[in-house]
């Protein structure tokens, strides 16, 4: 593990904010276990739990907390200066941080989605949801990490994207779904484990290309913005 990844992981797990990651995945598993143990037909609960909660809420919110935390928190408290005053090309700072953010988000979301998928349908669906959500975690992390370098309110902007764009507009304006990470994840999971529980209008090739584009594009943007990172000129 690189020194940047090590500091990032220590910072992430050392902050109380990390505890915010735990309740949502726990609720996801709990609901799935409850529905299964009460014998509710998966056709009734699987879609709202897996998509409505798992992919529409747990995945983006966890990725938002982690993605804005790995760099945004260091920018907020000023500790980022210690890493920036090192002779490291900026990609060697952004990539380890992105790897930690995507990795932590993927594990935090993929495990409960796998469990819920198995309980709802099959191991195949569980694995498909876990794999697709891991790819989604990468795209969300790249987006939110870049947001923490282009705005001082990355969490707010991230929430606007997740709640307004994906959550609200995605339901009423079908065209917006093409630019929705959530829909790309659904398309990929549905391709890996075709089931009536998952449905989207976005095609798999479009989802694959856009996930790659978003992941690479926002990473490049983050590297470029970090190269020009300015410390607020508070004079004293």
């Amino acid at each position: 593990m690189s020194t940047v990844s090590w500091i990032t992981a220590r910072g992430l797990f050392g902050r109380r904010r990390f505890l915010m990651l735990l309740p949502l995945p726990a609720v996801l598993v709990l609901l799935a276990v409850l529905c299964r143990s009460l014998g509710v037909d998966p056709g009734e609960w699987a879609s709202p739990v897996l998509v409505g909660l798992g992919l529409a809420v747990v995945l983006p919110v966890v990725a938002l907390i982690v993605g804005t935390g790995v760099l945004g928190a260091e920018i907020d408290d000023g500790t980022v200066v210690h890493i920036l005053t090192k002779p490291l090309p900026r990609w060697q700072i952004v990539l380890p941080k992105l790897a930690v953010a995507a990795g932590v988000s993927a594990v935090t979301v993929a495990v409960p989605l796998y469990v819920a998928g198995v309980l709802a349908d099959s191991v195949r669906l569980g694995l498909a949801l876990a794999a697709a959500s891991a790819l989604g975690a990468l795209a969300y992390s790249a987006l939110f990490l870049a947001l923490s370098l282009v705005t001082r309110r990355p969490v707010l902007l991230g929430l606007v994207y997740v709640l307004i764009w994906e959550g609200l507009l995605g339901n009423f304006v079908s065209g917006t779904r093409v630019l929705s990470i959530q829909q790309w994840v659904i398309a990929l999971a549905d391709r890996m484990a075709p089931t009536a529980l998952l449905s989207t209008t976005v095609s798999v090739p479009v989802a694959v290309v856009l996930i790659a584009l978003v992941s690479v594009g926002f990473t490049v943007l983050a590297i470029d913005r970090l190269r020009s990172f300015s410390v607020a000129g508070e004079t004293s």
Partner: protein, 316 residues
Amino acid sequence: MTTLDTDARPAVTTSTLDLVGVSRWYGNVVAVNDVTMQLGSGVTGLLGPNGAGKTTLLHMMAGFLAPSRGTLTLDGESTWRNPGVYRQLGLVSEREAVHSFLTAKEFVLASAKLHRLPDPQAAARRAIELVEMTDAQDRRIGTYSKGMRQRTRVAAALVHDPQVLLLDEPFNGMDPRQRLHMMGLLHSLGDAGRTILFSSHILEEVEQVSGTVQVMVAGRLAASGDFRTIRRLMTNRPHVFAVRSTDDRALAVALMADASVTGVELDKTGLTVRAGDYGAFTRALPKIALARQIRVRQLTPEDESLESVFSYLVEA
């Protein structure tokens, strides 16, 4: 006090920070206005009242702000968008943020590793010793006092033995003993050929650490160099001397006849002499005293302190 072990290191090549016509503005507010200066080896104090632009200037030197106009280079290379300069440059910023979940040892060692030093363990140990933090190095930084955190930050900035060290208000939060130690450390580094620039708005700190100052007032570089020399160049302000002699009254009369003297006050403790020309007065006084067989017991420049130089510059 720990001193820099210059014998154990390779010979230091000095680095030079060059600023030519550097300005920085935010919208309509000019924070730094057309500053030109060159910093070489030794300790220099960056002095100025709050809001003078010291921190903005330091941030630009450290590569954390682009100048709006002008050029700023370290050994010919721009510091902006150039992480390579951090091989020679160390920064201790004013904001005391440190990774509080790490111990000092972990923090300084991480810095050494990020600098890709050949022996990071040894470099971290040396830097921690230098700031006298060895005893507390295994405690989490979050449990430290402000002064200890500051020393840990200095250790991290020194771990790669930079040729240029920039410190923004380095004595903040330090107790008197820690201040003395830090002043000694800066002296050692300056004597060893490093280029040290530290900012402060506390005159005594600057006066004790460095005779060479860069004085910022309202974003401009108001004066530059040894503050005693700066004072002597202020020919529009009379120089004030305290003089004690065997016959103060007779000396006062004789001095008033000399062209270099613009005023004399006589009181119980002696004379306060105002001279328009520093050199002419100090040459004339012995001759005048000798001619009248008066013995001068004490001659002290009264307004050559950094404080008076600074107040003259700020008032100007």
